[in-house]
């Protein structure tokens, strides 16, 4: 599930957008809403969405000012602008900030959906996901012979895409309609590591990436990389790297910011 932040000062429109995304694009989920720029910035300090959909003119903070700040925080964030203004000045600024799509209000449903699907392709490539998860029917069709490798690959993608979600063995097994024990065995045989170790490793990579590429607080990083508590995360991190999370981040700070 990719995370979407909605920024729009009109409640009706915000709710409508949430509904539209919920109805039409299933791989996205609205995880945050903000009524103005300041709220959006506050949210972004604690969480990293994949896509931000924002109006460009709002009360409180101007959309363009907000954009500047957001781009500093997350240069790779996909931003879709919805605006009543078709003026060239805005479009120019938007291009300058590397905005993904600029839609004019009132937006057509399929226009937004098309934009979201484009964004999904981009995100899939970024996370190394090729397709959506195979269903059980697919697995039965392919059998368990030469397609074992494909199952394992799917599971790996699932893990990457739900890094801050529920990745317990049982949950994943039920997702692919396999027996948990069998799956554990299969995974160990195929990759040479335990499933739980693999998950731990992926979560650690994600945490490291977040530490280096964002300015999120340590406990946010812990949450976003799927660790139960910040304390637990600190411990594990220290064990894994021999550094505290803060120290690890500091050695990269100069390079990135």
């Amino acid at each position: 599930m990719y995370k979407v932040l909605l920024v729009e000062d009109e409640t009706v429109i915000r709710q409508g957008l949430r509904e539209l995304i919920h109805q039409s694009v299933h791989s996205f989920e609205v995880t945050g809403e903000a009524a103005n720029g300041s709220e959006a910035i506050a949210y972004l300090k604690a969480d990293m969405p994949d896509v931000m959909i924002t109006d460009i003119r709002m009360r409180e903070m101007d959309g363009l000012v907000m954009m500047g700040k957001v781009k500093q925080m997350y240069p790779e964030l996909i931003v879709i602008i919805l605006s009543g203004y078709g003026e060239f000045v805005y479009a120019q600024k938007a291009i300058e900030y590397g905005v993904f799509k600029y839609l004019l209000k009132p937006i057509e449903r399929h226009e937004l959906v098309a934009a979201m699907q484009k964004a999904q392709l981009l995100l899939d490539r970024k996370y190394g996901v090729s397709t959506s998860l195979p269903t059980a029917a697919n697995l039965e069709q392919t059998g368990s012979g030469g397609d074992t490798r494909k199952i394992i690959r799917d599971i790996r993608e699932y893990v990457k895409r739900h890094i801050d979600g529920d990745l317990r063995l049982q949950t994943v097994a039920s997702q692919v309609s396999l027996n948990a024990t069998y799956l554990s065995q299969l995974f160990k045989n195929e990759t040479g590591v335990n499933y739980s170790e693999y998950v731990l490793e992926v979560r650690m990579e994600r945490a490291k990436w977040l530490l280096v590429h964002t300015q999120l607080k340590i406990y946010d990083v812990a949450r976003l990389s799927g660790h139960q508590s910040p304390k637990h995360f600190m411990l594990v991190f220290k064990q894994q790297t021999g550094q505290t999370a803060g120290e690890y981040r500091d050695q990269f700070t100069d390079a990135n910011f």
Partner: protein, 607 residues
Amino acid sequence: MISLTFLHQWFKGHLNESNLRTKLLLLFTVLILLPLSLQGMVTYRHFLATVNHKTEQFTIDIVQQINTNLDRMLKDLERLSLMPLYDQMVLSILAKYNGPMGSGTWALSDDYLKMKLYTSGQAYNRPEIRGIHLISNSGILFSNVDAMSADAVWDSRRDSWFSELNQSDGEWTIIPPHEPSYYSSPSSESYISVARVIREPKTLVRLGYMIIDVKVEAFGHILSNLNFEREASLLIVDERQRFIFERVEEGGVSAYGELLEDGQLQEMRNRQKKKLGSREYLFVQHHSSYTGLSVISLTPIAVIQKESHEMMTFTLWFAAVCVGMVTGLAVLLSYRITKPLIELKKAMARAEQGNFNKRVTMLSNDEFGLLGRGFNNMMEEINRLFHEVFVLGMREKEAELSALQSQINPHFIYNTLESINMMAIQCKHAEVSDMVTALGKLLRYTIDKVDRRIQLWEEIQFVDSYVRIQQVRYGGKLQVLYEMEDEVKDCLIPKLILQPLVENAVYHGIDDREEGGTIWISALRFEDELLITVRDNGKGMSEMEIEKLNETIGKHPANQPLQLSGRDELGLSNIFQRIVLMYDKGGSLTVDGSPGQGFAVTITIPL
């Protein structure tokens, strides 16, 4: 050359403000009048000098001539005074009455008679002579004058002038004007006399005197015979500067006393100017060595220059006439030359005030003609451009204006539409959402910044937004089919040109039909033209109506204020005008159809 550059400088200095016509006028006038007047002045001066010189020379000649005549007259009289010396009878009679002066008392009447005959013979036919007198030593006076008017015996000691004669030794003497006392009737008339002492030729003993009294007028006669200037004064003096004769100019004063007083009579040279009283005179003197007389003429300078004054007056008048003529000619010429320019200037001034219909009519074959033609072409172009920009601007502002008349911020409208849109989405009203978004697109297309031309597919998209709204309204009764060739999708067409046609088709073709209708929108390329047709299958029109419509579309004046009326012809005319303004003669709009068979409008746009 120097004068030209000077002129040029002068022009530059003084004529920057004046217009070309004045400049030309002045140039002509100066160029013609300057040499003319210079030449006139030089010629005049030279002429004046010559005339004055000639007049002076003439005066001198006259004076000389007068003196010559005077010489001749006096010579004559001298000869006359010599005659008794060769007349034994006269000599013997004079000798008879010898004795000291004043002792003579009488003479024989016979002697008187003889002498009278003699002297009368001498004086015969000499009107200038008043009297010829022979006076013996003792004072007996023989005369040709009759006894009544002259004394028979005269004591010469009574008269002071006589002593001069007495002292002379036989040479002839000229005695300046005096009043002899031997004339019995005292007429107080003075005479000039030529006199001689008569001596016995052999012994040189004095026998008596001979006196010839000459009337003063005789001198005047000499002058009147010659063409001597009336207004000049003439003065004759003898060797001792004694006054002999003077003829004073009319209204003038005697100059003798003054000249004598100044002692200038001797040293005065010829040909010099002299002031007497308030007037200037030319002083000319001629001395006769024979008679010892000097003839002096005093001609007023004004008289000498009278001729040149006349000349000057004439010259000035002639110059004035010339100036007048030259000025007239210059006016005419500069007017002729600058007329087209001034017309051009006026036309330009009018153009500056916004009247682009003024044309220059005077088109000669010179540079002015070229200018005029250039100006006309320019005005045509400006007029065309003005027309295009102004009228097109009006057409394009129209949509914008009508939207702005509501004074609602478009952004507010879009946001409101978006709110409706989102509400519809939440309630799963897809049609409402579609309609609202279509309306939003429609508004945006018309309200947003007006581009002159857009690509065909954009216009089609816009038309489609409109159609979608209409379709919702008509609920399935309205069908629209697009027939687009791929190659024309990117062609540029005037914005908002297609939608009114579709609107026309909807309202006039479909609106009143129960069963609904279909509209075909097709675009195709034919050679170098893009043909766009909007056709409906509505009630159509009769041939007459079609013809009339085609006519009115072409005739509708473009500058008529636009109305947003639903009438076909006006809407169609507006579209047609826009096409004509943009593409000139290259674009067109034609209507076609027949009753019951629908109606079609075709736009042609050059590619």
